[in-house]
């Protein structure tokens, strides 16, 4: 039987990879933002698993930081997407590939 730490880390890896796939195949910016959230979540999971493996609080501390960062990122990100949407009238990230006002 596979032990708990490994199982948790594998789960984190799977979730992270799924987020990565989503990141790579989507062109919609909101989807990409969601993909980032998936990956952040997976990373948080890995920290939690590690914290429980060692019985130390640092892992959970890190998760809290991740959480704070995700919150800030989403708020700024959404505001940016809003601006882009008004500029480009589209959510296609490729449309934003040129550095043009």
């Amino acid at each position: 039987m596979i032990n708990a730490t490994t199982a948790g880390l594998v789960l984190a890896g799977v979730l992270f990879t799924l987020g990565l796939i989503s990141m790579l195949i989507r062109r919609n910016i909101i989807f990409m933002l969601v993909s980032v959230e998936i990956m952040l979540n997976a990373a948080g999971l890995a920290f939690i698993v590690a914290a429980s493996r060692w019985g130390q609080p640092e892992g959970q501390v890190m998760f809290m930081f991740i959480l704070a960062m995700a919150a800030a990122e989403v708020s700024v990100g959404l505001a940016l997407i809003l601006q882009l949407y008004h500029q480009l009238k589209s959510l296609d990230s490729d449309e934003a590939s040129r550095m043009r006002g």
Binding site: I25, R26, L67, A71
Partner: protein, 175 residues
């Protein structure tokens, strides 16, 4: 490992797969909420009940709701689904998926490698977390606070729309 973990893990993986395959963004976001809930269960199982709660409150509650409201505000739900469908051809997703699966295989290979045996799930008290947060990680907490502050200011600044777009009736005003 208990059955609960496997069930939660299976739900998390399946719902995440649903997230990344949906064309309709609202569906995807709802699936993502499900995924988040099951991850919260996993947290709980790994002896971090406080974190599970935070996951529910902040992630599934606040962040997701923010995104959902945002999508609803722009009224994107069904409108972009068709566009999304046209972008999502096999040629687009097969290559990256294979690459990512290779990455996953490598990750798993490395995780399984050490065969760590003496590991049992140890519960970490929220009190411990609090102590270390406000002990050695004090500076980081303050930085996180500044980050959030910057996020607020940034979001406000960026999100402030030009008046002539929102308030059409003020178009001719001098300011």
């Amino acid at each position: 490992m208990g059955t609960a973990f496997y069930i939660a893990a299976a739900v998390a993986v399946l719902s995440t797969i649903m997230v990344i395959t949906r064309y309709n963004i609202m569906h995807a976001l709802l699936y993502f909420n499900v995924s988040m809930l099951s991850v919260a269960v996993v947290f709980y199982l790994y002896g971090a009940p406080f974190m599970a709660a935070l996951e529910l409150i902040v992630y599934a509650g606040a962040i997701m709701v923010l995104i959902i409201f945002f999508v609803m505000m722009l009224n994107l739900g069904s409108q972009t689904a068709g566009e999304e469908r046209s972008w999502m051809t096999p040629g687009v997703w097969i290559g990256p998926s294979v690459l990512c699966l290779v990455l996953l295989a490598e990750l798993v290979y490395l995780m399984v490698q050490p065969a760590d045996t003496g590991a049992e799930i140890k519960v970490v008290d929220p009190k411990e977390v609090g102590k270390s947060l406000f002990g050695p990680y004090m500076l980081a907490v303050e930085l996180a606070g500044m980050l959030l502050m910057a996020g607020i200011v940034g979001a406000y600044h960026l999100g402030r729309q030009k008046k002539k777009i929102v308030h059409r009736f003020l178009e001719n005003s001098p300011s």
